[in-house]
């Protein structure tokens, strides 16, 4: 599927670019943390500890002003006190409004983001590539119809369409058993992981059009190649030609687009869960939203998950840049937020 020449380019670009190396490190870290979340997370991300609510992250403290009526010199008086809530090593990134550990929530949030990003992109790619390749290969009416439909799709911004579809369909959440916990390897961690099913379907449905455009463009030029004519001459069926000859030669730009799309879909997912359209409560966007109510006193609740999004998306974008520079297919448009 990927030619040796492409691999050579990839290696050369990678060695040359410090940014690409940074990107790879970031992505490896985020993916590892997401997969092994039950081992990496210091606490159960959903366990509440109401005595330690809104504890600040290491290096910070929070002042609480309390007023209480107390007996002072034999009479009841209002006493104002300023107390400091200090950080503890048990919660390096602090805790949220219910005393849940922010670090563990950020770690588990990586799972949601990556799963939605990868599965959503796969769905979009399967839909978009099959439609795009057929349109470009057959041309004519199929192609016209597709391009008009793509124009209409593009007229609705992904976020607006996603919000509308989820609003109409509801927020299906699919509980998936966590294998590490099921086999007793990580006691005390959540036994199931909530997959935001509707979100995955919807982000795939709203982003397929980018894949369709790229795949169509590739198919339009590939169909004129000699080897396609040869395949047709020996009597290969259209389906076989598209699957065995057109698709393998169109993979490069689709791969590049796929990388960019994972980043775009992670941003889209965070926006959806920020707006409350996700179906899971273990998500970076959801935590940013819940931290908004405590912005003036507990800034870290909104800040930490946002930083995690930036780290993940920067990493993926850097890898995307590497792929693009190495393969240089000249892709237009990026989509997403």
């Amino acid at each position: 599927m990927v030619s040796p020449r492409v691999l050579r380019n990839l290696k050369r670009e990678f060695k040359r670019s410090a940014l690409a190396k940074t990107g790879l490190v970031l992505v490896v870290v985020v993916v590892t943390v997401a997969i092994f979340a039950p081992f990496v997370a210091p606490h159960n991300p959903t366990a509440q500890d109401l005595d330690n609510r809104r504890q600040p992250p290491l290096g910070f403290s929070r002042t609480v002003e309390t007023t209480s009526s107390e007996m002072v010199n034999g009479s009841i008086q209002l006493v104002e006190r300023t107390e400091h809530v200090n950080a503890t090593a048990a919660h390096p990134l602090g805790t949220d409004s219910l005393g849940r550990d922010m670090l563990s929530r950020v770690i588990y949030g990586a799972r949601t983001s990556l799963l939605v990003g990868v599965l959503g992109t796969l769905l979009a790619a399967i839909l978009g590539v099959s439609v795009g390749l057929s349109a470009g290969y057959y041309r004519g009416r199929v192609d016209d119809a597709l391009m008009r439909f793509a124009d209409v799709s593009l007229a609705f911004p992904s976020l607006v369409l996603a919000v509308a579809l989820i609003g109409l369909w509801g927020r299906a959440a699919v509980p998936v058993p966590d294998p590490f916990v099921v086999f007793g390897l990580a006691p005390g961690m959540p036994a199931t992981f909530t997959l935001p099913g509707t979100v995955i379907v919807v982000v795939g449905l709203v982003n397929w059009v980018w894949f369709a455009r790229v795949a169509r463009g590739e198919a339009l030029s590939i169909r004129e190649e000699e080897y396609i004519k040869a395949a047709r001459a020996i009597g290969a069926s259209d389906g076989r030609i598209i699957w065995r000859h057109v698709l393998p030669n169109a993979t490069t730009p689709i791969l590049v687009l796929g990388t960019i799309q994972i980043a775009a879909i992670i941003l889209l997912e965070s926006a959806l869960s920020f707006l409350g359209f996700s179906g899971t409560t273990l998500s970076w966007g959801f935590d940013i939203a819940q931290g908004r109510d405590y912005l003036a006193t507990s800034w870290w609740i909104s800040t930490m998950p946002g930083l995690a999004i930036v780290v993940a998306v920067v990493g993926i974008n850097l890898l995307g840049d590497l792929l693009r520079d190495a393969l240089d297919p000249g892709i237009e448009g990026e989509g997403g937020l």
Partner: protein, 330 residues
């Protein structure tokens, strides 16, 4: 003559896309769980009552008749009635348009004013600190969720330092225009307007600033290596003229194309930016109407958003043609 034909063709295409948008939005009501009758009829309604409601809404007619009436109503500017708000949808939606347009235009102005100079400087001083700075900025800009950026700016610039308002749109651009002729002090109104619009405009504009900076930088690098630039330098043109008149003009062609494609992202971004800053535009109306299951209003919003996308893209095409005289009008 060619331009006239080009215009005619593009406008026709645009009208077709708008028709498609309307058809999709019409179709949305059929993938909605539950019939609209359920939303209106009392829980203990008899079959007769339900039929009466269906008849009043025209739901007992064949699909193509309903569709025909839907199109006719839209042509007359009637987008239906929001039973939840107790208002005509058209009025409800159009009333929100100015706020969103103001936000989108402000964000675009911020983006273009920052990104094009930054991209040019970055390209002409390649591998200098300013280039690295611009590269990092644009990488961060395309990787940061705009709603989070908005919240962080509220946290620092509005809550901590109190420079800007945390949310809302107390003073609109219309008020600024009025203050020129009216009794309100002009400067005060402008300052107050800026305190409302600056943060949302930056939050929404950052992604585009970053994107256009990247495109301008790589485009300029391409163009500056081309023969015509060497020719222009050789005949003694000042460097500023070479860069800004010759190279930049050619760089802008692909930039404009991508901006047109990304317009949906701008509108989508406006939805969430509005949610963060409680900006009373179309975006907040979309979210509100979904939360209260006000489908007629949602449909109205979608039609307006889709149509404006088509109109602005038409404008982008014309701009494209004027930037690149080689564009063939057919």
């Amino acid at each position: 003559m060619a331009l006239g034909r080009f215009l005619f063709k593009r406008v026709t295409q645009g009208v077709l896309v708008v028709w498609g948008v309307i058809t999709v939005v019409f179709g949305l009501r059929f993938i909605t769980p539950g019939s609209p009758i359920n939303a209106l009829a009392p829980l203990d309604a008899t079959a007769e009552t339900r039929q009466a409601i269906a008849a009043e809404l025209g739901l007992n007619q064949p699909l193509h008749v309903q569709y025909g009436y839907y199109l006719l109503d839209l042509l007359r500017g009637d987008m239906g009635y929001s039973y939840i708000k107790g208002q005509e949808v058209a009025g409800l939606v159009l009333q929100r348009v100015p706020a969103t347009v103001e936000l989108a235009v402000a964000a675009t102005v911020v983006a273009i004013a920052l990104s094009i100079p930054l991209g040019v400087i970055s390209a002409t001083r390649r591998n200098e600190p300013v280039d690295y700075g611009a590269t990092l900025f644009s990488l961060g800009g395309i990787s940061t969720p705009n709603f989070w950026l908005g919240i962080m700016m509220i946290l620092v610039l509005a809550v901590q330092f109190g420079i800007f308002h945390t949310s809302g749109r107390g003073v609109g651009f219309g008020d600024v225009l009025l203050s020129i002729v009216g009794s309100e002090p002009f400067l005060g109104t402008v300052l107050d307007w800026l305190r409302y619009i600056t943060l949302p405009a930056i939050a929404l504009g950052t992604y585009f600033t970053a994107l256009v900076t990247r495109l301008t930088r790589s485009g300029m690098l391409d163009e500056l290596g081309k023969g015509y630039v060497r020719a222009a330098r050789a005949k003694g043109l000042p460097e500023t003229l070479v860069r800004y008149k010759h190279a930049l003009r050619n760089t802008l062609v692909p930039v404009v194309t991508v901006l047109g494609l990304q317009l949906g992202t701008l509108i989508g971004g406006a939805v969430i930016t509005e949610a963060v800053f409680a900006w009373p535009g179309l975006g907040t109306l979309v979210i509100q109407s979904i939360n209260v299951r006000d489908w007629p209003t949602l449909q109205g919003c979608l039609i307006i958003i889709g149509t404006s996308f088509v109109i602005v893209n038409l404008a982008v095409d014309l701009l494209y043609a004027s930037l690149d005289p080689r564009v063939v009008y057919d």
